[in-house]
Symmetry: C2
Subunit: 193 residues, 2 copies
Amino acid sequence: MATRREELVSVAARLFAERGYHGTSMADLAEAMGVQKGSLYSLTGSKQELLVLVTREGAVAFHGALDAVPEDDEAPLERIRRALRGHLAVVAAQVDAATVFTREWRFLEEPERTAFRAERRRYEERWGDLLREAAERGALRSDLDVPAAVLLVLSAANWAYTWIRPGADTDALADRFFVILLDGVRGYATRPA
Amino acid sequence: MATRREELVSVAARLFAERGYHGTSMADLAEAMGVQKGSLYSLTGSKQELLVLVTREGAVAFHGALDAVPEDDEAPLERIRRALRGHLAVVAAQVDAATVFTREWRFLEEPERTAFRAERRRYEERWGDLLREAAERGALRSDLDVPAAVLLVLSAANWAYTWIRPGADTDALADRFFVILLDGVRGYATRPA
DNA sequence: CCTACCGATCGGTAGG
DNA sequence: CCTACCGATCGGTAGG
Protein backbone atom coordinates (compact mmCIF):
# COMPACT_ATOMS: atom_id res chain seq x y z
CA MET A 1 0.00 0.00 0.00
CA ALA A 2 1.45 3.31 -1.08
CA THR A 3 1.83 6.04 1.52
CA ARG A 4 0.56 9.51 0.73
CA ARG A 5 4.17 10.58 0.30
CA GLU A 6 4.80 7.86 -2.27
CA GLU A 7 1.60 8.84 -4.04
CA LEU A 8 2.82 12.42 -4.21
CA VAL A 9 6.15 11.37 -5.67
CA SER A 10 4.44 9.38 -8.41
CA VAL A 11 1.99 12.20 -9.12
CA ALA A 12 4.97 14.54 -9.35
CA ALA A 13 6.67 12.16 -11.78
CA ARG A 14 3.57 12.17 -13.96
CA LEU A 15 3.07 15.94 -13.99
CA PHE A 16 6.77 16.79 -14.33
CA ALA A 17 6.88 14.43 -17.32
CA GLU A 18 3.70 15.89 -18.85
CA ARG A 19 4.15 19.59 -18.23
CA GLY A 20 7.79 19.91 -17.28
CA TYR A 21 9.18 20.80 -13.86
CA HIS A 22 8.72 24.54 -14.25
CA GLY A 23 5.38 24.04 -15.96
CA THR A 24 4.03 22.21 -12.91
CA SER A 25 2.93 24.21 -9.88
CA MET A 26 2.43 23.03 -6.33
CA ALA A 27 -1.23 23.90 -6.91
CA ASP A 28 -1.29 21.45 -9.84
CA LEU A 29 0.17 18.72 -7.64
CA ALA A 30 -2.28 19.52 -4.86
CA GLU A 31 -5.23 19.31 -7.23
CA ALA A 32 -4.02 15.93 -8.53
CA MET A 33 -3.70 14.75 -4.93
CA GLY A 34 -7.12 16.10 -4.01
CA VAL A 35 -5.86 18.39 -1.26
CA GLN A 36 -5.10 22.05 -0.71
CA LYS A 37 -1.71 23.36 -1.75
CA GLY A 38 -0.47 24.02 1.77
CA SER A 39 -1.18 20.43 2.76
CA LEU A 40 1.55 19.12 0.46
CA TYR A 41 4.21 20.48 2.78
CA SER A 42 3.45 17.82 5.35
CA LEU A 43 4.47 15.29 2.67
CA THR A 44 7.49 17.04 1.16
CA GLY A 45 9.79 19.86 2.07
CA SER A 46 9.74 21.47 -1.34
CA LYS A 47 8.94 21.02 -5.01
CA GLN A 48 12.66 20.65 -5.65
CA GLU A 49 12.81 17.71 -3.25
CA LEU A 50 10.19 15.94 -5.38
CA LEU A 51 12.37 16.41 -8.45
CA VAL A 52 15.30 14.90 -6.57
CA LEU A 53 13.22 11.88 -5.58
CA VAL A 54 11.85 11.28 -9.08
CA THR A 55 15.22 11.54 -10.83
CA ARG A 56 16.71 9.24 -8.20
CA GLU A 57 13.93 6.74 -8.86
CA GLY A 58 14.89 6.80 -12.54
CA ALA A 59 18.55 6.31 -11.78
CA VAL A 60 17.83 3.35 -9.50
CA ALA A 61 15.59 1.74 -12.10
CA PHE A 62 18.07 2.06 -14.96
CA HIS A 63 21.02 0.86 -12.91
CA GLY A 64 18.88 -1.97 -11.58
CA ALA A 65 18.13 -3.08 -15.13
CA LEU A 66 21.85 -3.24 -15.90
CA ASP A 67 22.49 -5.10 -12.65
CA ALA A 68 20.06 -7.76 -13.82
CA VAL A 69 22.12 -8.49 -16.93
CA PRO A 70 23.78 -11.91 -16.44
CA GLU A 71 27.54 -11.90 -15.93
CA ASP A 72 28.10 -14.66 -18.47
CA ASP A 73 31.39 -13.84 -20.15
CA GLU A 74 30.78 -16.42 -22.84
CA ALA A 75 27.99 -14.42 -24.47
CA PRO A 76 28.97 -10.75 -24.68
CA LEU A 77 26.48 -10.03 -27.47
CA GLU A 78 23.67 -11.56 -25.51
CA ARG A 79 24.56 -9.27 -22.60
CA ILE A 80 24.16 -6.22 -24.83
CA ARG A 81 20.82 -7.48 -26.03
CA ARG A 82 19.71 -7.99 -22.44
CA ALA A 83 20.83 -4.52 -21.46
CA LEU A 84 18.83 -2.99 -24.28
CA ARG A 85 15.80 -5.04 -23.30
CA GLY A 86 16.26 -3.94 -19.70
CA HIS A 87 16.49 -0.26 -20.54
CA LEU A 88 13.38 -0.28 -22.72
CA ALA A 89 11.51 -2.30 -20.10
CA VAL A 90 12.23 0.40 -17.52
CA VAL A 91 11.05 3.10 -19.89
CA ALA A 92 7.79 1.23 -20.49
CA ALA A 93 7.21 0.36 -16.83
CA GLN A 94 8.16 3.79 -15.46
CA VAL A 95 7.68 6.22 -18.35
CA ASP A 96 7.23 9.19 -16.09
CA ALA A 97 10.33 8.64 -14.00
CA ALA A 98 12.27 7.75 -17.15
CA THR A 99 11.13 10.98 -18.81
CA VAL A 100 12.06 13.11 -15.84
CA PHE A 101 15.38 11.26 -15.58
CA THR A 102 16.16 11.96 -19.22
CA ARG A 103 14.69 15.41 -19.75
CA GLU A 104 13.94 17.26 -16.49
CA TRP A 105 17.06 16.41 -14.50
CA ARG A 106 18.69 19.67 -15.60
CA PHE A 107 16.36 21.62 -13.29
CA LEU A 108 17.96 19.99 -10.27
CA GLU A 109 19.69 22.54 -8.08
CA GLU A 110 23.26 22.13 -6.96
CA PRO A 111 24.74 20.00 -5.56
CA GLU A 112 22.22 17.37 -6.74
CA ARG A 113 22.58 18.45 -10.35
CA THR A 114 26.28 17.70 -10.42
CA ALA A 115 25.73 14.44 -8.56
CA PHE A 116 23.10 13.47 -11.09
CA ARG A 117 25.43 14.08 -14.01
CA ALA A 118 28.05 11.87 -12.40
CA GLU A 119 25.44 9.17 -11.88
CA ARG A 120 24.30 9.37 -15.48
CA ARG A 121 27.88 9.29 -16.70
CA ARG A 122 28.37 6.16 -14.66
CA TYR A 123 25.36 4.61 -16.40
CA GLU A 124 26.76 5.51 -19.80
CA GLU A 125 30.11 4.08 -18.84
CA ARG A 126 28.54 0.78 -17.88
CA TRP A 127 27.16 0.67 -21.43
CA GLY A 128 30.58 1.52 -22.75
CA ASP A 129 32.03 -1.35 -20.73
CA LEU A 130 29.51 -3.77 -22.18
CA LEU A 131 30.52 -2.88 -25.72
CA ARG A 132 34.22 -2.65 -24.98
CA GLU A 133 34.27 -6.07 -23.36
CA ALA A 134 32.40 -7.54 -26.30
CA ALA A 135 34.95 -5.99 -28.64
CA GLU A 136 37.86 -7.31 -26.57
CA ARG A 137 36.43 -10.82 -26.66
CA GLY A 138 36.22 -10.69 -30.41
CA ALA A 139 32.42 -10.65 -30.56
CA LEU A 140 32.46 -7.29 -32.34
CA ARG A 141 34.32 -6.44 -35.51
CA SER A 142 37.90 -5.53 -34.80
CA ASP A 143 37.74 -2.21 -36.63
CA LEU A 144 34.60 -1.09 -34.77
CA ASP A 145 34.35 2.57 -33.75
CA VAL A 146 33.34 1.75 -30.17
CA PRO A 147 32.62 5.32 -28.96
CA ALA A 148 30.30 5.93 -31.91
CA ALA A 149 28.60 2.58 -31.33
CA VAL A 150 28.05 3.43 -27.66
CA LEU A 151 26.59 6.81 -28.58
CA LEU A 152 24.32 5.21 -31.16
CA VAL A 153 22.91 2.65 -28.77
CA LEU A 154 22.50 5.24 -26.01
CA SER A 155 20.69 7.51 -28.44
CA ALA A 156 18.18 4.77 -29.11
CA ALA A 157 17.85 4.14 -25.38
CA ASN A 158 17.57 7.80 -24.37
CA TRP A 159 15.13 8.73 -27.09
CA ALA A 160 12.81 5.86 -26.19
CA TYR A 161 10.81 7.80 -23.60
CA THR A 162 9.36 9.91 -26.42
CA TRP A 163 7.68 7.04 -28.23
CA ILE A 164 7.36 3.97 -25.99
CA ARG A 165 3.83 3.27 -24.81
CA PRO A 166 3.26 1.50 -21.48
CA GLY A 167 2.32 -2.08 -22.19
CA ALA A 168 4.40 -2.28 -25.37
CA ASP A 169 6.35 -5.46 -26.02
CA THR A 170 9.68 -3.89 -25.21
CA ASP A 171 11.63 -7.12 -25.52
CA ALA A 172 10.56 -7.42 -29.13
CA LEU A 173 11.34 -3.74 -29.77
CA ALA A 174 14.77 -4.09 -28.20
CA ASP A 175 15.48 -7.14 -30.33
CA ARG A 176 14.47 -5.31 -33.50
CA PHE A 177 16.99 -2.58 -32.69
CA PHE A 178 19.55 -5.17 -31.74
CA VAL A 179 19.32 -7.04 -35.04
CA ILE A 180 19.96 -3.84 -36.97
CA LEU A 181 22.81 -2.78 -34.70
CA LEU A 182 24.41 -6.19 -35.06
CA ASP A 183 24.50 -6.59 -38.82
CA GLY A 184 23.50 -3.23 -40.22
CA VAL A 185 20.97 -2.11 -42.78
CA ARG A 186 23.00 -3.02 -45.85
CA GLY A 187 22.37 -6.22 -47.75
CA TYR A 188 24.86 -9.10 -47.70
CA ALA A 189 25.35 -8.76 -51.44
CA THR A 190 27.01 -5.36 -51.24
CA ARG A 191 29.04 -6.15 -48.16
CA PRO A 192 32.84 -6.28 -48.45
CA ALA A 193 34.35 -9.75 -48.28
CA MET B 1 22.54 43.26 -39.82
CA ALA B 2 20.10 41.68 -37.42
CA THR B 3 17.09 43.69 -36.33
CA ARG B 4 16.28 43.95 -32.65
CA ARG B 5 13.41 41.58 -33.25
CA GLU B 6 15.72 38.99 -34.76
CA GLU B 7 18.11 39.47 -31.88
CA LEU B 8 15.26 38.82 -29.46
CA VAL B 9 14.29 35.62 -31.26
CA SER B 10 17.84 34.32 -31.08
CA VAL B 11 18.17 35.30 -27.43
CA ALA B 12 14.88 33.49 -26.79
CA ALA B 13 16.24 30.41 -28.57
CA ARG B 14 19.29 30.46 -26.34
CA LEU B 15 17.45 30.92 -23.06
CA PHE B 16 14.60 28.52 -23.91
CA ALA B 17 17.25 25.92 -24.75
CA GLU B 18 19.24 26.61 -21.57
CA ARG B 19 16.49 27.04 -18.99
CA GLY B 20 13.43 25.70 -20.73
CA TYR B 21 10.42 27.70 -21.91
CA HIS B 22 8.72 27.84 -18.52
CA GLY B 23 12.04 28.38 -16.79
CA THR B 24 12.65 31.54 -18.82
CA SER B 25 10.85 34.74 -17.82
CA MET B 26 10.30 37.85 -19.88
CA ALA B 27 12.52 39.57 -17.31
CA ASP B 28 15.30 37.09 -18.19
CA LEU B 29 14.92 37.89 -21.87
CA ALA B 30 14.86 41.62 -21.16
CA GLU B 31 18.05 41.39 -19.12
CA ALA B 32 19.78 39.48 -21.92
CA MET B 33 18.62 42.14 -24.37
CA GLY B 34 19.74 44.95 -22.07
CA VAL B 35 16.31 46.58 -21.82
CA GLN B 36 13.41 46.77 -19.40
CA LYS B 37 10.83 44.02 -19.47
CA GLY B 38 8.01 46.17 -20.82
CA SER B 39 10.14 47.20 -23.77
CA LEU B 40 10.10 43.67 -25.20
CA TYR B 41 6.47 44.07 -26.17
CA SER B 42 7.38 46.46 -28.95
CA LEU B 43 9.37 43.57 -30.45
CA THR B 44 7.00 40.67 -29.84
CA GLY B 45 3.36 40.20 -28.94
CA SER B 46 4.03 37.54 -26.32
CA LYS B 47 6.47 35.02 -24.95
CA GLN B 48 4.48 32.30 -26.68
CA GLU B 49 5.01 34.01 -30.03
CA LEU B 50 8.76 33.73 -29.48
CA LEU B 51 8.40 30.01 -28.94
CA VAL B 52 6.46 29.73 -32.19
CA LEU B 53 9.19 31.60 -34.07
CA VAL B 54 12.03 29.54 -32.62
CA THR B 55 10.40 26.17 -33.28
CA ARG B 56 9.54 27.32 -36.80
CA GLU B 57 13.19 28.25 -37.31
CA GLY B 58 14.17 24.73 -36.33
CA ALA B 59 11.62 23.18 -38.66
CA VAL B 60 12.81 25.30 -41.58
CA ALA B 61 16.44 24.41 -40.92
CA PHE B 62 15.85 20.67 -40.69
CA HIS B 63 13.64 20.55 -43.76
CA GLY B 64 16.15 22.72 -45.61
CA ALA B 65 18.89 20.22 -44.82
CA LEU B 66 16.84 17.43 -46.34
CA ASP B 67 16.02 19.58 -49.37
CA ALA B 68 19.74 19.92 -49.99
CA VAL B 69 20.17 16.15 -50.33
CA PRO B 70 20.83 15.41 -54.03
CA GLU B 71 18.06 13.62 -55.90
CA ASP B 72 20.43 11.10 -57.42
CA ASP B 73 18.50 7.83 -57.58
CA GLU B 74 21.62 5.87 -58.39
CA ALA B 75 23.06 6.31 -54.92
CA PRO B 76 20.34 5.76 -52.32
CA LEU B 77 22.84 4.99 -49.56
CA GLU B 78 24.76 8.14 -50.28
CA ARG B 79 21.53 10.10 -49.92
CA ILE B 80 20.99 8.68 -46.43
CA ARG B 81 24.53 9.58 -45.52
CA ARG B 82 23.98 13.12 -46.78
CA ALA B 83 20.74 13.44 -44.84
CA LEU B 84 22.47 12.40 -41.65
CA ARG B 85 25.27 14.87 -42.31
CA GLY B 86 22.70 17.58 -42.96
CA HIS B 87 20.78 16.96 -39.77
CA LEU B 88 23.87 16.99 -37.58
CA ALA B 89 25.14 20.10 -39.36
CA VAL B 90 21.92 21.92 -38.46
CA VAL B 91 22.21 20.82 -34.85
CA ALA B 92 25.77 22.15 -34.67
CA ALA B 93 25.02 25.41 -36.49
CA GLN B 94 21.77 26.13 -34.64
CA VAL B 95 21.98 24.20 -31.39
CA ASP B 96 19.52 26.43 -29.61
CA ALA B 97 16.80 26.30 -32.24
CA ALA B 98 17.44 22.56 -32.66
CA THR B 99 17.09 22.05 -28.91
CA VAL B 100 13.85 24.03 -28.71
CA PHE B 101 12.58 22.20 -31.80
CA THR B 102 13.30 18.84 -30.22
CA ARG B 103 12.52 19.44 -26.55
CA GLU B 104 10.46 22.61 -25.93
CA TRP B 105 7.94 22.37 -28.77
CA ARG B 106 5.47 20.69 -26.44
CA PHE B 107 4.84 24.01 -24.70
CA LEU B 108 3.36 25.43 -27.88
CA GLU B 109 -0.29 26.33 -27.42
CA GLU B 110 -2.97 25.14 -29.78
CA PRO B 111 -3.35 25.29 -32.67
CA GLU B 112 0.41 25.67 -33.24
CA ARG B 113 1.16 22.61 -31.18
CA THR B 114 -0.87 20.34 -33.41
CA ALA B 115 0.56 22.01 -36.50
CA PHE B 116 4.06 21.46 -35.16
CA ARG B 117 3.43 17.76 -34.62
CA ALA B 118 2.23 17.42 -38.20
CA GLU B 119 5.34 19.22 -39.40
CA ARG B 120 7.61 17.00 -37.37
CA ARG B 121 5.80 13.91 -38.60
CA ARG B 122 6.38 15.12 -42.12
CA TYR B 123 10.08 15.40 -41.36
CA GLU B 124 10.15 11.87 -39.99
CA GLU B 125 8.26 10.60 -43.02
CA ARG B 126 10.82 12.13 -45.33
CA TRP B 127 13.42 10.07 -43.48
CA GLY B 128 11.20 7.03 -43.83
CA ASP B 129 11.00 7.68 -47.56
CA LEU B 130 14.77 7.84 -47.84
CA LEU B 131 15.16 4.44 -46.23
CA ARG B 132 12.19 2.88 -47.98
CA GLU B 133 13.43 3.98 -51.38
CA ALA B 134 16.87 2.62 -50.64
CA ALA B 135 15.28 -0.69 -49.65
CA GLU B 136 13.15 -0.78 -52.80
CA ARG B 137 16.21 -0.20 -54.96
CA GLY B 138 17.97 -3.09 -53.33
CA ALA B 139 20.58 -1.01 -51.57
CA LEU B 140 19.40 -2.31 -48.19
CA ARG B 141 19.06 -5.92 -47.15
CA SER B 142 15.77 -7.38 -48.31
CA ASP B 143 14.77 -8.60 -44.86
CA LEU B 144 15.40 -5.19 -43.24
CA ASP B 145 12.99 -4.02 -40.55
CA VAL B 146 12.53 -0.59 -42.10
CA PRO B 147 10.40 1.01 -39.34
CA ALA B 148 12.94 -0.01 -36.70
CA ALA B 149 15.78 1.29 -38.86
CA VAL B 150 14.02 4.63 -39.30
CA LEU B 151 13.43 4.90 -35.57
CA LEU B 152 17.07 4.05 -34.87
CA VAL B 153 18.45 6.67 -37.22
CA LEU B 154 15.97 9.29 -35.98
CA SER B 155 16.95 8.48 -32.40
CA ALA B 156 20.56 9.28 -33.24
CA ALA B 157 19.47 12.47 -35.01
CA ASN B 158 17.08 13.63 -32.30
CA TRP B 159 19.41 12.91 -29.43
CA ALA B 160 22.26 14.84 -31.04
CA TYR B 161 21.30 18.20 -29.54
CA THR B 162 22.31 16.87 -26.13
CA TRP B 163 25.95 16.23 -27.02
CA ILE B 164 26.95 18.06 -30.20
CA ARG B 165 29.21 21.04 -29.63
CA PRO B 166 29.13 23.98 -32.06
CA GLY B 167 32.17 23.78 -34.29
CA ALA B 168 32.31 19.99 -34.18
CA ASP B 169 33.14 18.16 -37.39
CA THR B 170 29.61 16.93 -37.91
CA ASP B 171 30.32 15.38 -41.30
CA ALA B 172 32.84 13.06 -39.70
CA LEU B 173 30.46 12.30 -36.83
CA ALA B 174 27.63 11.53 -39.24
CA ASP B 175 29.88 9.23 -41.23
CA ARG B 176 30.92 7.37 -38.10
CA PHE B 177 27.27 6.68 -37.32
CA PHE B 178 26.61 5.82 -40.93
CA VAL B 179 29.33 3.19 -41.09
CA ILE B 180 27.91 1.41 -38.06
CA LEU B 181 24.35 1.64 -39.33
CA LEU B 182 25.41 0.22 -42.68
CA ASP B 183 27.26 -2.90 -41.62
CA GLY B 184 26.62 -3.25 -37.91
CA VAL B 185 28.82 -3.80 -34.90
CA ARG B 186 29.36 -7.52 -35.39
CA GLY B 187 32.54 -8.88 -36.92
CA TYR B 188 32.55 -10.48 -40.36
CA ALA B 189 33.68 -13.77 -38.85
CA THR B 190 30.48 -14.39 -36.92
CA ARG B 191 28.18 -13.12 -39.64
CA PRO B 192 25.84 -15.61 -41.31
CA ALA B 193 26.75 -16.52 -44.85
C1' DC C 1 -5.13 18.14 6.20
C1' DC C 2 -7.30 23.18 6.18
C1' DT C 3 -7.52 28.31 6.11
C1' DA C 4 -5.29 32.28 5.62
C1' DC C 5 -1.57 34.49 4.51
C1' DC C 6 3.55 36.02 3.07
C1' DG C 7 6.68 38.56 -0.32
C1' DA C 8 8.22 37.75 -4.87
C1' DT C 9 7.52 37.14 -9.41
C1' DC C 10 4.72 36.08 -13.42
C1' DG C 11 3.19 37.78 -18.39
C1' DG C 12 1.42 41.66 -20.05
C1' DT C 13 -0.46 46.74 -20.57
C1' DA C 14 -0.95 51.98 -20.50
C1' DG C 15 0.85 56.11 -21.41
C1' DG C 16 4.51 58.57 -22.60
C1' DC D 1 12.60 52.19 -25.16
C1' DC D 2 11.13 53.70 -20.10
C1' DT D 3 8.32 54.05 -15.81
C1' DA D 4 4.69 52.53 -13.40
C1' DC D 5 1.40 49.56 -12.89
C1' DC D 6 -2.29 45.46 -13.40
C1' DG D 7 -4.37 41.02 -11.51
C1' DA D 8 -2.87 36.41 -11.16
C1' DT D 9 -0.01 33.11 -9.61
C1' DC D 10 4.32 31.43 -7.71
C1' DG D 11 6.60 28.40 -3.78
C1' DG D 12 6.28 28.29 0.78
C1' DT D 13 4.80 29.21 5.97
C1' DA D 14 2.02 29.83 10.38
C1' DG D 15 -1.21 28.25 13.28
C1' DG D 16 -4.57 25.29 14.03
